[in-house]
Subunit: 436 residues, 2 copies
């Protein structure tokens, strides 16, 4: 390779830099090779020593060569030059045949064709997409949300009290600073790691099921993973207690739409008359997990605080998706999708229950709640949970372990992702693994 | 208001059009007012009747005036002048005619048709969209980013060290907890409210330009709002100082792509050999402000810490947009867009400088840096900044106030959003407000 220096274009040292970089990357200058001395290089290329030095410094800065005192520059180890493209997850060698573990969305349930139409139409609003989104969320979207939650959850709020974000965590990152006059927060169980992490990161004292905390995080429609919901009497009690104590309730209305077996219960927000409760809603389970849009309804006192700081926060949710979802809701598709999924998951959960009963008979205790998309299965078992899951995995069965204690394993089986016709063979396979 | 026509630059009729449009929008030409006849207007402005007619036709086409047979042109009802597309922001009573304040993207620069194609193709990946995104960002997207930053910024990293998020704030919300063994953070100036807020929320001691802090936040390609960049010598010095002190540098490579007047300077990350620097990149200014995708490259020590906690954080950026952007970059569109914008903004900034010089002559001091999309204008002024901005607003001119001191106002004028043909009438209007 010849280095022809272009005096005219660009700075010389960059050309020298590029020249050596290529020699090193192509392996023609092997690792460990001593670079020519500054003087020799300058003489051979007929340029100044300073130029060579600048190039060498840049090469060293970029890790291609290294200076050794009283000796000169040497090409570094080759491995350092190539980014090691490592797998982020070790690829499982066992293909998944029966997936009871995923909390995705039923493959048949979502009308991609409709959603694509709405996104396409949102992307046609060139002007609107050329500017940053509103920090609080698009105004028309917030108006639509306000009217949706009023109709479906009896929540009376102004669009000004709604804050949109890319997922619940983004909202908690806005909420935590507004709550910093409070110290302790209670979560219903330790499994909501994403929520707990955020509060811990902000220095809150995180506790478990302690209703005397300053902040009470609760998912009334998802009290347990197998779908227990909070009865109305306890909802009233909680609202009263929090109001007496001056605590703030964070009502995460997760899976409320999937409360099949009875009418949706009243939201804490509506029971409290809109005071002292932050209502949090999300669309991941209802539409697509990949749509990262959540929202929260702030009570007046926090809404005021938020507006003083609103300009400090950028919007995180995609503007195009907000525009699309806004029209999607206005045209009634969200309500229709919600009805459809409620029917679908209720039927699938029944099918799953039937498959479990058939495969395990009287050998297993099953817990099903009033909602959700999962059931809990208790098996007497003399191996550890870890061993059992690993055996399942080898046979292509994915399940979630809820807990293990004294000879029992509690497994969680979800009906949401897998098609119903795989329930029975999947449960039979699971039963066989268990019996072995 | 005097209209001074520039025969040389731009098309004459557009200047006449702008002139009347502003008079109408500001209400100085009330609705129902008869426009001067073509002949009279041509005589007064000393231009041809054809030019006036072209301007009137355009005003009529845009709904500002209406032709009445055998009578002439009349200003239409005021309501008709407001864009029918309801702004999501509270409609200001003063319509914006000249927007020097916005940091959006040039309307002509973005190929929406191409982007729509990529989004459409991403939305066809049904299976992929039915599951949650990877907390760290989609793997193929991170691979593409790693190779992009290696080519364009000399940054050698593994896709495992990259974390994707919906905007810089989302990334800082992940980063701050990883840095909690550190106490103080330095920002180059108090104007990056969004970044400062996050650190304050996590309890850091936020200071200004203090290089003895534990964390140093810096935007080397955007040192001042008017585009000063950090010289290489200072970059080396900063990297060395931080390394000696054990400080972490957060290198926000904001607007690096817009460094026109010289070759992009080496990144701090590459100068440091990848240690002790977090590199942060974003696409908002390069593509669309409404695309909320940023990424950071973590140094080994922080990457390790992150992976221990990765499952605590949900991904905030839209999965569909990540998939689309990944292929968009692979097909070379990002690099092309970057080259295009660099040329476009360099030309527009020159036009803006010309317009400012023409409108203010020797009365104003102008500062322009080596990059960016804005210039700073210092005006001697005996009213307060607030008063001045309010006067501007009433005339439909939006500018940003940098600071005010003892009889001087420093204004920031951006060339990015407004089309170049509005620079001159806009600057003339601004000069007039200033002279009043």
């Amino acid at each position: 390779m010849q280095l022809e220096l272009q005096q005219t274009s660009g700075r010389l040292y960059i050309q020298v830099y590029q020249y050596y970089k290529e020699l090193i990357l192509s392996g023609r200058l092997a690792s460990g090779t001593k670079m020519p001395s500054l003087r020799r290089c300058a003489r051979e290329l007929e340029i100044s020593r300073t130029t060579v030095e600048s190039a060498y410094l840049q090469l060293a800065a970029d890790g291609y060569i290294i200076a050794r005192p009283q000796s000169g520059y040497y090409v570094t180890e080759l491995s350092a030059h190539q980014p090691s493209f490592q797998e982020s997850k070790p690829v499982s060698s066992f293909p998944i045949v029966y997936n009871f573990a995923s909390s995705g969305v039923d493959h048949e349930s979502f009308r991609f064709d409709i959603w694509r139409r709405y996104i396409k139409s949102a992307l046609r609003q060139d002007e609107r997409l050329l500017s940053y989104g509103e920090p609080q969320g698009e105004k028309d979207f917030r108006e639509t949300l306000a009217s949706y939650v009023q109709t479906h959850r009896n929540i009376i709020c102004s669009p000004d009290d709604i804050v949109v974000g890319a997922g619940t965590q983004s909202l908690l990152n806005i909420l935590c600073p507004l709550l910093k006059d409070r110290k302790s927060v209670s979560f219903p169980n330790p499994s909501f790691v994403q929520g707990i992490s955020v509060f811990e990161d902000y220095g809150f004292d995180v506790r478990c099921r302690d209703k005397d905390c300053d902040i009470i995080y609760v998912s009334p429609a998802h009290m347990t993973k197998w779908g227990d919901i909070m009865p109305v009497s306890r909802r009233l009690e909680l609202v009263r207690h929090a109001s007496d104590r001056g605590s703030i309730i964070l009502e995460d209305d997760f899976e409320n739409e999937f409360v099949y077996l009875q009418r949706p219960t009243p939201s804490l927000q509506s029971l409290s008359g809109g005071h002292g409760v932050v209502y949090i809603g999300s669309f991941s389970r209802l539409l697509l997990p990949s749509i990262r849009i959540s929202f929260m309804v702030l009570p007046p006192e926090l809404s005021k605080k938020y507006h003083l700081r609103a300009s400090h926060y950028n919007q995180t949710a995609s503007k195009a998706e907000q525009i699309a979802l806004c029209q999607f809701i206005r045209d009634g598709h969200l309500a229709a999708q919600s009805r459809k999924l409620r029917r679908l998951y209720a039927a699938k959960l029944k099918d799953l229950l039937f498959a479990v009963r058939h495969a395990f008979g009287q050998d297993a205790a099953v817990r099903v709640g009033s909602g959700g998309t999962s059931l809990a299965l208790r098996l007497a078992c003399n191996v550890s949970g870890e061993q059992f899951l690993s055996r399942c995995k080898k046979r292509g069965v994915l399940v979630e372990l809820l807990r293990e204690e004294s000879g029992f394993l509690d497994l969680l089986l979800s009906c949401s992702t897998m098609p119903a016709e795989k329930f029975l063979p999947g449960c039979l396979c699971l039963a066989q693994i268990w019996k072995e």
